[in-house]
């Protein structure tokens, strides 16, 4: 592909930025990137931290062990994914994490015909077990699944989640990019359809009414209604967090509300 997947351009940032920012806007807890020894990473959203994998070349199980250990003191469960999921939707993440509530150690989607260990939910307490298995030379996720309780989620079970069915009916959350052709095809897709509202002085005549636009980032959404996220403008994503992060990835079904930064008074 000419460069590491983490660095592949994605609507003004990178695939890694998108993946971490989607997780950051979805989960309440920490977001951690596991980097190979000496690996240079592209810029990350604020609040996302990096832990270095002390051993190179042991594959995803090693990354899983390091990542789970890094958040075990702050979270009981974690969503674990690879860098290259350009269509990962928060509804998918929520659906998987919800599956952990009933008690299994792992929630493993079996989506679009494949097991998806790198788009799955894990109990962080598994960190020690994964490390032990690695020490014994078991480098494949399949070995881990033999030693713990795994709940699989089929396409049908995933799509029973109404939000996921509405916003990601083809389960493209698990589509990854392995070849230059995959990447080119993904990049050629139209951006997701979102809804934009402008309030107060930002709403030109009738502009406060919701309107649909196709954009992949908050900055592009602002530009689509003639705004810049300067000191006078902020945005609320789905009525929740307020931000000025132009690179914030948007996903199908998002509602972006632009407000005057001096709201109140």
């Amino acid at each position: 592909m000419g460069k590491p997947k983490a660095w592949l351009e994605w609507h003004g940032s990178t695939l890694l930025y998108r993946a971490t920012a989607v997780l950051a806007r979805t989960v309440g807890g920490p977001v951690v990137v596991v980097a190979a020894p000496g690996q240079e990473l592209p810029p990350l959203p604020s609040g996302v931290t990096v832990v270095e994998d002390p051993v190179e070349g042991l594959g995803p199980m090693q990354g899983l062990a390091v990542g789970l250990a890094a958040v075990a003191d702050r979270a009981e469960t974690a969503f674990v994914c690879s860098t290259d999921l350009p269509f990962l939707h928060p509804a998918f993440v929520r659906c998987v994490l919800r599956g952990l509530a009933s008690g299994p150690d792992v929630v493993l989607p079996v989506a679009r015909g494949f097991r998806q260990p790198l788009a799955a939910g894990y109990r962080t307490a598994l960190a020690g077990l994964v490390a032990d298995l690695l020490a014994e030379g078991d480098l494949r996720p399949g070995m881990l699944f033999k030693h713990c309780e795994v709940a699989q989620l089929s396409d049908e079970q995933l799509l029973a989640d109404t939000a996921l069915a509405r916003h990601d009916p083809m389960l493209e959350s698990v589509v990854n990019v392995n070849t230059p052709e995959d990447y080119a095809a993904a990049r050629d897709r139209p951006p997701p359809e979102i809804v934009v509202e402008c309030f107060g002085a930002l709403a030109k005549k009738g502009g406060h009414r919701p309107r649909g636009v196709r954009t992949a980032t908050l900055g592009a959404a602002a530009a689509s209604v003639g705004l810049t996220l300067d000191r006078h403008v902020v945005a609320a994503l789905n009525g929740d967090q307020i931000t000025r992060d132009e690179l914030l990835p948007l996903v199908a079904g998002d509602v972006v509300s632009f407000l005057s930064a001096d709201a109140g008074g």
């Binding site: 107060g200 005549k205 005057s260």
Partner: protein
Amino acid sequence: MAPGGFFGRALLVDVGGREATGTPFELTERVLRSYLGGVGLGTWLLHRLAPPGVDPLAPAAPLAFVFSSLVGTPLTTSAKFAVVAKSPLTGLLTDALASSQFAISGKLTGHDALVIRGRADELSVLLIDGDGVRLEPAPDLAGLAAGEAETAAKSRFGRNWRTAAIGAAGERGVRYATISHDGRHAGRGGLGAVLGAKNIKAVLVRAATKVSVADQAGVLAAARDLRKRSFGPATAKYRELGTLANLLAFNAVSTLPTRNFTAATFEGAPQLAAEELHELRGVARNSCASCSIGCEHIYSRKGGGGQRMEYENVFALGPLCGVSDPDDVFAASARCDELGIDTISAGGTIAWAMECVERGLIDEPWLRFGDGKAVLRALDAIGTRSPGLGELLAQGSRRAAEAVGHGSIDFAPQVKGLELPGYEPRSLQSMALGLAVNARGADHNRSGAYEADLSGELDRFDGGAAHVAAAVGTEDRAAVMDSMILCKFLRGVFDDPFTEWARLLALVTGWPLDADELRGAARRIVRAKRAFNLREGATAADDTLPARMLETPLELGSGRSAVLDADRLRSMIAGYYAARGLDEEGRIAAADLEDLLLDA
């Protein structure tokens, strides 16, 4: 000689029987420089002149109209004054700001403050000008709306008098009655009841002198510059839609208090939104005296006439009571203005009563969420203090809840007795802290910490150290703006506020002020307010929020919940006390008390 912009004296007006006497009261340069004017100076005056423990409605309780060095200069938005007293609603310090020519004429009577004490034998008007003070009986004004009283006073005494008056609610001692002048209100904390308790329907002032500033040319240049900046993007919201622009935006971010704070989004919000009303109604713009922003938006009402609408009155009489018909809300706002009552406290108290009716705690089945006519009927009952419901609700939600009992205090929307403004604490957690610790009670003007919550620079759902810093910072900035006095809607035009304000004040007063000295003044003013409250019996237990906010998660429009539990609030309050140099009980250190110059 007094510093530029000041006279160096207040006038103590004692009314008694059928007479009034005026006594000058020296204000030293040290006191003026330490407290700046407005709310700061008013707080100092209350310390000095209010007997400890005084009943706010007793003759001995002082009511101070306080000006500042900037009043009367060409600086935009500076024609303001503070009214300061011990509140009959909270039993603590209250101060309210308002703007009109009353500020300029009041100051040009030759005084930096006018302090009224005593009680007239009959309903009277008090006149103050260069010839002194006098009391005129005015039984004919009884029951009139403030605006009507103002008109009557003008025709009786002449057009060059400026009037601040109360409505019927102030005469009858409604604990959240306002003082009004030129359609604007010193609204919060029941100042109208304090004036009413003195049997004074209106205070009339007439300019008699001039005041000079230290650097006339410098002030003119600064005024030109500030005026130019006041037309920029930082004030666009106020100019184009006014404060009502908040309503739809707050609804979108789950911070529009609805049905007595049981929700933070309101399905009827679009009908009440400025954006919609601007398309559907005639709208006129107006401004206070000496203001180049002009944030007032007056909407035409069905059946004729217009009504000035602000976010706070629409929130309180609309979503908070579940009412979505704009004409019902317009009518309720107009009724509050006629009676002379604070719309926020009125709406909060009525919304609490509606919830009590739902829960079977008050037997007034007509008083239901969503019924605009019921809101009007309740307002009339309050304004006349009619036996039963009117008398109960005229006391405000805290006293009413104490009377009704059955845990209804847990959902009374008040802090220290003052009803909450239209900012949901659970989804604005810097603001939650500001509301809890503020001296005036639940208040958005003395603590504008919502700015930080809505800036995107911190997590508004997860209050912590950053939220404490934001609450302290906005409280400090408000203390200076309210004392120097400039309208807070101008705040966004200052890039380096304390430095720029110090420069403005230096041009007017001649004091070589810098930003650090002004920061010190801000801390002093905030501390002086707390010191007054402590003197009047407040404790750390008063720095809190209603139990509802701390025990019930708030459902957000996004599907998540916002939680603000008591531990988190306590931890933020501890951070606030530490930042303010207070002990763990919120008390002031002896060295800091000395700095308040309470014996000066």
